[in-house]
C-alpha cells in the first residue's frame, strides 16, 4: 500500500464520499452512519498524509505515474515535502471541520459529508498533481464541491454570495483553459517539470507567448487566492457560508497561493531565462495592495465572519509577499505562515459561529446584544484566535510574521514589507479589539439564557483542535521551521524535480 501512498489521499475521500451516497449510508435518517464514516475517513486521511510526509522526508520526493505512463506522457502525481505538508494540513483542517459539523450543521442540507470529502479530494489533488491540465480538473472538482457546499444550509445570503462566487470562478476557469491552451500550444507538454525544461529552450518570440500564457495563470491562481483586485468575492462568500464550510474554505485560497509558488518557481523559475521572475513586477505591488485591501476591509467589517474573511485576504497578501521575495528562505517563511493562517482563520470562523449562536438575532454583528452564555470559554477562544491572527506572541502568528520579516532582504523591500505588515498588524489589533470589546462586553441586560444553545462538545473539540495548533506551532517552531526550510529548498531545487521525474535528457 505504501507504494500507492501518493494517490491514497485522493482515493480515500473519493471512495469514501461515493460510499456515503450509497446504502447503507445514504438517506436522511442515516446521518449517524455518515458521521462515523466521515470521522473514519478523516482519520484515515490524516494517518495517510502523515505517513506520506514521513516517507517523503525519509526517502525523498515520490513520483507516482498514474496508469503506469511515465513522465512526461502520463499524469504524474508528485509528492514532495511541500505537497505532503499541505495535504497533511488540509486533512487536519478537514477533521476539524467534520467534527464541528457533527454539532448539527451537517444536517442542514443533503450530502454534507460526501461533499466535504470531494472538496478535500480536489484540494489534495491540486497539491499533489504535477500536471497542469490535471490541476485544472482538480480545481474544478474542488470548485464544484465548494459551490455546492456554499449553499449548504440555504438562505438568501448564501445564494447571493454564491452567484458571485460561481460566476467569477467560471470566468476564471475559462481563463485557465486559455492559459492551458497557450502553454500546450507553445511547449507541447503538460507535465510541469517537463514544461519547465521546455520553456527554457523556447525561441524569443515563443517565450513571449509562453509569458502571456503564464500571466493568464496568475489571474487564475490569483482569483482563487483572492489577490487584489480579484479578491472581491471572498469576504461575502466566506461570511455567507455556514461555519464549517467557511472554515474549510480557509485552505482554498491557499491552493491558489500554492499554485503560484509551484508554477512560478518551477516553470517560470530561475532556469527559465528571460521568463524568470516574469510576474514579479505584478505580484509585488499586488501583494502589498492585497494586504492593504484586506486590512481596510477588516477595519470596515460589520461582523466577525466578514472580519475573518478580510483577514484571510491579509494572509493571502502576506503569502504573496513571501512569494515575491523569491528566496527559499522567504518561501519557507511563507509556508509557516500558510499553516498558521489557515488553521487560525478557520478557527476564527468557527468562533464567530459559536458566538452567533449565543447572541440571538445579533449573530456575530458588532452591535449591542445579549450576553453570550459561555462568556469565559468563548472569550478565551476569541482572545487566543485574535492574538494569533494579529501576530501577537506567544502564538503562531507572531512566529510566522517574524520569520517573514526576517526573510526580507534589501532596504527598499524592508521599508515596504515591514511597514505594510506591521501597520496591517496594528490595524488588525484595532479591528479585533473593537470587535472583541463589542461582542463580549457591550451587552444588553441579560435575559433568561436557558434557551440559548450551549457550545456542543463537537464544536469545542473542533475549535480546540484548530486553535490548539497555534501554540503548538510556536512551541515546536524549531522542527516546523526546519521542515518548511527543507520543503522550500526542495521546491526551489528544479534539477532535483527533473531527476525524480526521470526527465533528464528528455530534451536535447
Amino acid at each position: 500500500m505504501t507504494v500507492h501512498l501518493a494517490i491514497l489521499p485522493i482515493l480515500i475521500p473519493l471512495v469514501g464520499g461515493l460510499l456515503m451516497l450509497l446504502p447503507p449510508f445514504a438517506g436522511v435518517e442515516r446521518y449517524q452512519y455518515r458521521r462515523v464514516a466521515a470521522l473514519c475517513l478523516m482519520l484515515a486521511q490524516i494517518g495517510c498524509s502523515i505517513i506520506l510526509m514521513l516517507m517523503v522526508v525519509q526517502n525523498g520526493a515520490i513520483m507516482y505515474a498514474v496508469g503506469d505512463w511515465q513522465p512526461p506522457f502520463g499524469i504524474i502525481l508528485y509528492a514532495d515535502q511541500l505537497s505532503a505538508m499541505l495535504v497533511a494540513l488540509t486533512s487536519f483542517l478537514g477533521l476539524g471541520v467534520t467534527l464541528y459539523s457533527f454539532a448539527g450543521s451537517d444536517r442542514e442540507g443533503k450530502y454534507f459529508h460526501p461533499l466535504v470529502q470531494f472538496q478535500l479530494l480536489g484540494i489534495y489533488g491540486a497539491f499533489l498533481t504535477n500536471d497542469l491540465f490535471n490541476l485544472f480538473v482538480f480545481f474544478e472538482v474542488l470548485l464544484i464541491a465548494s459551490y455546492t457546499l456554499l449553499i449548504h444550509g440555504g438562505g438568501k445570503q448564501k445564494t447571493a454570495a454564491n452567484v458571485h462566487y460561481v460566476i467569477l470562478n467560471l470566468i476564471g476557469s475559462s481563463l485557465f483553459l486559455f492559459a492551458l491552451g497557450t502553454l500546450y500550444g507553445i511547449t507541447g507538454t503538460l507535465n510541469i517539470a517537463d514544461m519547465s525544461q521546455r520553456v527554457a529552450q523556447l525561441s524569443e518570440s515563443n517565450q513571449l507567448i509562453a509569458q502571456a500564457g503564464g500571466s493568464l495563470l496568475l489571474i487564475v491562481f490569483g482569483l482563487k487566492a483572492a489577490m487584489l483586485p480579484l479578491h472581491f468575492w471572498l469576504p461575502r462568500t466566506y461570511a455567507a457560508a455556514s461555519a464549517p464550510v467557511a472554515a474549510l474554505f480557509a485552505i482554498m485560497t491557499k491552493v491558489g497561493v500554492y499554485c503560484i509558488f509551484r508554477v512560478y518557481t518551477v516553470i517560470f523559475g530561475e532556469q527559465a531565462g528571460e521568463l524568470a521572475n516574469m510576474i514579479q513586477p505584478w505580484v509585488w505591488p499586488l501583494a502589498i495592495l492585497t494586504v492593504i485591501a484586506g486590512t481596510v476591509g477588516a477595519l470596515a467589517s460589520q461582523n466577525l465572519r466578514t472580519l475573518a474573511g478580510n483577514l484571510v485576504i491579509v494572509s493571502v497578501g502576506t503569502l504573496l509577499i513571501a512569494f515575491a521575495l523569491r528566496t527559499p528562505e522567504a518561501t519557507a517563511a511563507g509556508l509557516l505562515y500558510l499553516i498558521h493562517s489557515t488553521l487560525v482563520t478557520a478557527a476564527l470562523f468557527l468562533i464567530a459561529d459559536m458566538l452567533g449562536q449565543q447572541r440571538g438575532k445579533a449573530l456575530d454583528y458588532f452591535v449591542v446584544a445579549r450576553k453570550t452564555k459561555q462568556q469565559a470559554l468563548l472569550g478565551v477562544l476569541f482572545v487566543v484566535a485574535a492574538m494569533a491572527v494579529a501576530g501577537l506572541p506567544p502564538f503562531s502568528g507572531f512566529l510566522a510574521k517574524l520569520v517573514i520579516l526576517q526573510a526580507v532582504t534589501g532596504t527598499e523591500q524592508k521599508i515596504w514589507v515591514w511597514s505594510v505588515i506591521l501597520i496591517s498588524s496594528l490595524i488588525t489589533i484595532i479591528a479585533l479589539s473593537r470587535a472583541g470589546t463589542t461582542l463580549f462586553w457591550r451587552c444588553t441586560p441579560s435575559r433568561d439564557a436557558s434557551e440559548t444553545p450551549s457550545v456542543s462538545k463537537w464544536q469545542m473539540c473542533a475549535t480546540f483542535l484548530l486553535l490548539g495548533a497555534s501554540p503548538l506551532l510556536a512551541i515546536f517552531g524549531a522542527s516546523i521551521i526546519d521542515y518548511t526550510n527543507n520543503a522550500a529548498a526542495q521546491l526551489h531545487d528544479i534539477p532535483y524535480l527533473i531527476e525524480v521525474m526521470n526527465l533528464e535528457g528528455d530534451i536535447q
Binding site: I151, I209, A300, R434
Partner: protein, 929 residues
C-alpha cells in the same frame, strides 16, 4: 533552580487563582501570592552574586534558526526591576484582596495580574531581544485585560483599547527597531548587542533603528505626544493603576531606554530626542496634574511628569544623570504605588475620587491620611524622603547640561518650574482631600479601611522614609549594580546622603517648595487662566480618530466593493488584459510562422454564420428565447467546426452537450423573466464593448501567435502507444480512458457533484410558475400532444440502441461512454418532454443518486483493480480473444471504466432534470395572470 523556573512558576501562578477562587478571597489571595513570593525569594538569593558584578545568564534553545532563544539575563538593572515588579506586585495582591468586592471575579483578576507580572518580569530578565519583544507585547495584552476589567463600563473598554492601540503600535515599531539592530549586529542576543554599541551607532540605519525603538519606549512610558492614553487607563481598578502605572507597565519603556542605553546613547540624536521629549513630558504632565479634579487623574499626570523626568535624565547622557534616573525609577515606583493605593482607599471608603467633593477626611481616616501625606511629600521632593534625594540629583544634573548651547540654562529653569508644579499638585492632593473643609454629597460616611488594606501602604511609606534617611544603606548596593549594568563602565562618583551642603540644587529645591506653596495658594488665578482653554478629552479625540479611520476604511472599502459583480468581473478582465497584453506588445507579429492553410468557401460561410449568430445572440440577449435559438446555432457551427478539423469525438460531444444545455436554459428561462429590460447606460455599453473587444483581440492574437508555430508535442507518444499500450485505435478515447484516465475520473466526479449540488439547490425551493408567457398569452391547454408522445416512445429503443453502439465502439472509433450516456439521457429527456415528470417518474424507478455514485465508483474501482497486479492506479489491461464462430473480440478494463462514465452521465443528467421536474409537477402553485 534557574531563572527559567521563575517564569515557569509564575506561569503556573497564572492558573492558581482560577483554581483556588472557590476557596474564598483570603485563601485565594494567599495562594496567588505564593508564586511571586517564591520568585522574589529566588531573586533575592541571587542578589549577592549580582552585587558582586556577576551577570547571571541562562540559555535554552527554542528556534535557533531564527534567532529566537529562551535566554535570561540577570544584571543589576534587571535585578532592580525584578525586585520592584515582584515586591510591589505582592503588596498589590494583598491590597486588591480588600479592594475588590466579593462579587467580582477576583480569581480572574489575579490571573490577569500574575500574567502581567510574568510578562513584565520576562521583559527585564530577557537576554534575547525577540524574547523581550514577545514579553513586551504580552504586557500590552494583559494590561488591556486589566484595564478593561470592569468591562461593562464604556470608559474601561475605551481606555483599554486606547492603551492597547498606542502601546501596540509602539510595540510593532519596537519590533522593527530591534530587528534592525539585530540585523546590524548579526545576533538577537542582548549580550552581543550590548557589546556592539559602536557598530550600531556608526551604522547608516542607526537613526531609523533609534527612532523605532524610541517609539516603542515612549508609547509605553506615556511620553509626549503619546502620553494621552495613560490617564484613561485609570478606568482600571485602582490596584491595577497602582501596579501598572507606578512600577511596571509604564516603566517598561524606561527600562528599554536604560537597557539600550549602552548601545543607543551617546549621540546628538539621542540627546535631542530623548531629553527634549522628557523635558516636555515633565513640564506638561506636572502642569496638567494641577488641574485634575480626579485623584487618579492627578496621579496619572504626575506619573507622566515623573516618567518625563526619568527620560530627561537618560537623555542628558551623562553618567551621573543615568544614575539619578535609576534612583528615581525606584523612588517613583515606591511613592507612586503607595499614593495610588491611598487614592484607592479614599475612593473605596468615600465613594468618590473627585477632589471637589472630598475634604476634611483627616477626621475620618487620620491614619491613612498620614501615610498619604508622607508619600505625597516624597512626590513633592520634601527632604528626609526618598523623592527629595533623587529629585535633587536630577536638579543637579540639569545644571551640568550644556549640550543645548546658549539656551542650556533653560533646562534647569524648566526643571525647577516643573518641580514647583509638583509641589503644588502634591499639596493640593493633601490639602483638598484631608483638610480644606467638609466632604460634600458623599454616598457613604468615610472611615478607615480594613487593617490589612493599609499594610502595603505602610510598607511603602516606610521605605520612603528609610531610603530618604539612610539611602546608602537601603539601596546603595542595588543602585550601584544597576548603574554599572546600564553604564557598562566605571561608575562616576556620587554620594547618597541627605545633606550635600548649601548648593544650587538645594536652592532650586527650596524655590520649588516655596513656589509650589505660592502656586497652590493662588491657584484660582491659574485656574481662571487655564479655563480659557477648552479642555479636550483625549478619549473622545482618540475614539473619534479611530472612528474616522474606520469610517474612511468603510467608505473606501464600500466604494471599492460595491457588491457589483459586473465591477468585479471588469476588474478581473482588466487585470487580465493588462497582464497579458504586455508580453504581446513585444511580440513581433511578422516573426517566423507558417503560412495559413487554404480556406474554402464553406469554411468562410461557416465562420460568417458563427460570427453573425454570436453577435445576434448579443443583440438579442434581452429577448431571451431568441438568444437561446441563436446560441444553438453557435453550438451547431462549433460542432461542425470540430468535425471539420478532424475531431469527430469533439463534434459528437459538443452537439449533445449543446442540446442538453439549451434544454436546461429553457427550463430555467421558464422561471426567470422572459425578457430583460434595457438597463445598461450607453457609457456602460461602451465600456463593456471596450473590455470585451480588448479581451477578444487578445485571445485571438495569442491564438494566432501559437497556432502558426510548429509544435513539438508529446502527442506522438499517444499515437504510437494508443493501439499497443492502450488497446484502442481511437487515440482520443484511449487518452480519455487510459493515458489521462485520472482527468476523466475527475471530470465525471465534477459532473456528479454538479448534479448533487443542483439537487441541493432545488431541494428546498418552490418557485411559482407563470401561467402565461411574457405577452400575457395563457399557456396551451394541450399539455402532452399525443402525437409527440407516440413518436418519442418509439424513438427511445432506437436511441438506446444507438447509444450502446456509440458506447461500444468508442475505444476504436469516435464515441465513448460520455457521448453514449448523453444520448441515452437526451432520449429520456425526450420522454420527459413528451409525457411529463408525473408520468415518467413512477415508471422509471431508478435512484439517480445511486446511479451517479455507482458510476464513479465503478470507474474508481477499475483503477484500483490494477493494484492487485502491482501496478499503479489506473493501469489498464486489455487482451484479444479468439472465440470460435464469433471471432476475435477485445476485452479491456477501459471499457468498464467507460461504463462508469456512461452511468454517471445518465445519472447526473437525469438527476438534474428530475429535480427540476419536481419543481413543477405536483401541487404547482401558479401566480395569477
Amino acid at each position: 533552580m534557574s531563572l527559567f523556573w521563575i517564569t515557569a512558576i509564575l506561569l503556573i501562578g497564572v492558573l492558581i487563582p482560577l483554581l483556588t477562587e472557590r476557596l474564598g478571597r483570603t485563601v485565594n489571595t494567599i495562594f496567588t501570592m505564593l508564586a511571586p513570593a517564591i520568585a522574589l525569594a529566588y531573586i533575592i538569593s541571587l542578589m549577592p552574586a549580582v552585587f558582586a558584578g556577576e551577570v547571571v545568564t541562562e540559555y535554552l534553545e527554542w528556534i535557533p534558526s531564527i534567532g529566537l532563544t529562551l535566554s535570561m539575563r540577570l544584571d543589576g538593572l534587571a535585578l532592580m526591576f525584578a525586585l520592584l515588579i515582584l515586591g510591589i506586585g505582592l503588596l498589590i495582591i494583598l491590597y486588591a484582596r480588600y479592594y475588590l468586592s466579593e462579587k467580582e471575579a477576583v480569581g480572574r483578576f489575579f490571573s490577569y495580574l500574575i500574567l502581567f507580572m510574568t510578562a513584565m518580569l520576562s521583559i527585564v530578565l530577557s537576554n534575547n531581544v525577540l524574547q523581550m519583544w514577545m514579553a513586551w507585547e504580552v504586557t500590552s495584552i494583559s494590561s488591556f485585560l486589566l484595564i478593561s476589567f470592569w468591562s461593562s463600563k464604556s470608559e474601561s473598554r475605551k481606555g483599554a483599547r486606547m492603551a492597547l492601540t498606542v502601546t501596540g503600535a509602539g510595540g510593532l515599531a519596537l519590533l522593527a527597531g530591534l530587528l534592525l539592530v539585530s540585523d546590524i549586529v548579526g545576533s538577537y542576543e542582548l549580550s552581543v548587542i550590548l557589546a556592539s554599541g559602536d557598530l550600531i551607532r556608526e551604522h547608516a540605519l542607526y537613526p531609523v533603528a533609534l527612532i523605532l525603538i524610541l517609539l516603542g519606549a515612549f508609547t509605553k512610558s506615556a511620553q509626549f505626544p503619546f502620553h494621552f492614553w495613560l490617564p484613561h487607563a485609570m478606568a482600571a481598578p485602582t490596584p491595577v493603576s497602582a501596579y501598572l502605572h507606578s512600577a511596571t507597565m509604564v516603566k517598561a519603556g524606561i527600562f528599554l531606554l536604560a537597557r539600550m542605553y549602552p548601545v543607543l546613547s551617546g549621540t546628538e540624536m539621542w540627546f535631542l530626542i530623548v531629553s527634549m521629549t522628557g523635558l516636555i513630558t515633565l513640564l506638561l504632565g506636572a502642569y496638567i496634574a494641577l488641574f485634575k479634579h480626579d485623584l487618579k487623574g492627578l496621579l496619572a499626570y504626575s506619573t507622566i511628569s515623573h516618567l518625563g523626568l526619568i527620560t530627561l535624565l537618560l537623555g542628558l547622557d551623562t553618567k551621573l544623570a543615568a544614575v539619578a534616573a535609576l534612583f528615581h525609577i525606584m523612588n517613583h515606583a515606591i511613592f507612586k504605588a503607595s499614593l495610588f493605593m491611598a487614592a484607592g482607599i479614599i475612593d473605596h471608603e468615600s465613594g468618590t475620587r473627585d477632589m471637589r467633593k472630598l475634604g476634611g477626611l483627616w477626621h475620618f481616616m487620620p491614619y491613612t491620611a498620614t501615610l498619604a501625606m508622607v508619600a505625597a511629600a516624597s512626590m513633592a521632593g520634601v527632604p528626609l524622603l526618598n523623592g527629595f534625594l533623587s529629585k535633587e540629583m536630577f536638579l543637579a544634573e540639569t545644571l551640568h547640561s550644556s549640550a543645548l548651547g546658549f539656551i542650556s540654562w533653560m533646562i534647569p529653569v524648566l526643571a525647577t518650574l516643573a518641580a514647583i508644579f509638583a509641589v503644588a499638585y502634591s499639596l493640593r492632593f493633601i490639602h483638598d482631600v484631608f483638610f480644606n473643609g467638609e466632604p460634600k454629597d458623599l454616598v457613604k460616611t468615610p472611615h478607615e479601611p480594613p487593617r490589612y488594606m493599609k499594610v502595603p501602604i505602610e510598607i511603602l511609606v516606610a521605605l520612603c522614609l528609610l531610603i530618604g534617611i539612610f539611602p546608602n544603606f537601603m539601596i546603595g548596593g542595588l543602585l550601584e549594580a544597576a548603574a554599572s549594568s546600564v553604564l557598562m563602565s566605571e561608575l562616576p562618583y556620587y554620594s547618597l546622603s541627605i545633606w550635600h551642603g548649601f548648593n544650587l540644587p538645594l536652592l532650586m529645591s527650596v524655590i520649588a517648595i516655596g513656589g509650589g506653596l505660592l502656586v497652590y495658594a493662588y491657584r484660582r488665578h491659574l485656574y481662571r487662566f487655564q479655563a480659557q482653554f477648552k479642555e479636550s478629552d483625549e478619549k473622545l479625540i482618540f475614539e473619534g480618530a479611530i472612528q474616522r479611520l474606520v469610517a474612511s476604511a468603510t467608505s473606501a472599502h464600500d466604494g471599492l466593493n460595491n457588491g457589483s459583480l459586473q465591477r468585479y468581473i471588469a476588474a478581473l478582465l482588466l487585470l487580465t488584459i493588462a497582464i497579458t497584453a504586455i508580453p504581446l506588445i513585444n511580440l513581433d507579429t511578422a516573426a517566423t510562422h507558417s503560412p495559413d492553410q487554404a480556406v474554402s468557401g464553406v469554411e468562410i460561410t461557416a465562420a460568417i454564420i458563427l460570427c453573425l449568430s454570436a453577435i445576434a445572440t448579443v443583440i438579442f440577449h434581452r429577448k431571451r428565447m431568441v438568444a437561446l435559438i441563436t446560441i444553438s446555432v453557435v453550438g451547431l457551427i462549433v460542432s461542425i467546426a470540430f468535425a471539420r478539423f478532424s475531431a469527430p469525438d469533439l463534434a459528437l460531444t459538443q452537439l449533445s452537450v449543446e442540446v442538453v444545455t439549451v434544454i436546461l436554459l429553457m427550463l430555467a428561462l421558464y422561471f426567470l423573466p422572459q425578457k430583460t429590460p434595457s438597463e445598461s447606460s450607453p457609457a456602460r455599453v461602451v465600456r463593456d464593448v471596450g473590455i470585451a473587444a480588448a479581451l477578444g483581440g487578445l485571445v485571438a492574437t495569442i491564438n494566432y501567435a501559437f497556432i502558426t508555430q510548429p509544435l513539438d508535442s508529446i502527442s506522438e507518444f499517444f499515437l504510437a502507444n494508443s493501439k499497443t499500450g492502450g488497446g484502442g485505435t481511437n487515440a482520443v478515447n484511449v487518452i480519455l480512458v487510459d493515458f489521462r484516465g485520472l482527468d476523466t475520473l475527475g471530470e465525471i466526479l465534477v459532473l456528479g457533484i454538479a448534479a448533487l449540488g443542483i439537487f441541493n439547490l432545488l431541494a428546498r425551493v418552490r418557485l411559482a410558475m407563470p401561467s402565461a408567457n411574457e405577452h400575457g398569452l395563457a399557456w396551451s391547454k394541450d399539455r402532452h400532444p399525443p402525437i409527440l408522445a407516440i413518436i418519442s416512445q418509439s424513438l427511445l429503443p432506437l436511441a438506446l440502441l444507438v447509444s450502446f453502439y456509440i458506447f461500444l465502439r468508442g475505444h476504436n472509433m469516435p464515441g465513448g461512454g460520455f457521448i453514449a450516456g448523453l444520448i441515452t439521457a437526451v432520449a429520456l429527456i425526450q420522454q420527459y418532454i413528451a409525457h411529463g415528470v408525473d408520468w415518467v417518474k413512477p415508471r422509471l424507478k431508478v435512484d439517480y443518486q445511486i446511479l451517479i455514485a455507482l458510476g464513479i465508483l465503478i470507474a474508481t474501482l477499475t483503477g484500483i483493480g490494477s493494484w492487485f497486479f502491482d501496478r499503479p492506479f489506473m493501469t489498464t489491461w486489455f487482451d484479444y480473444f479468439d472465440i470460435p464462430l464469433i471471432g476475435e473480440i477485445e476485452l479491456a478494463s477501459a471499457l468498464i471504466f467507460d461504463l462508469g462514465v456512461y452511468l454517471t452521465v445518465i445519472g447526473a443528467t437525469l438527476l438534474i432534470l428530475a429535480s427540476l421536474g419536481k419543481l413543477t409537477s405536483s401541487h404547482r402553485p401558479t401566480s395569477e395572470e
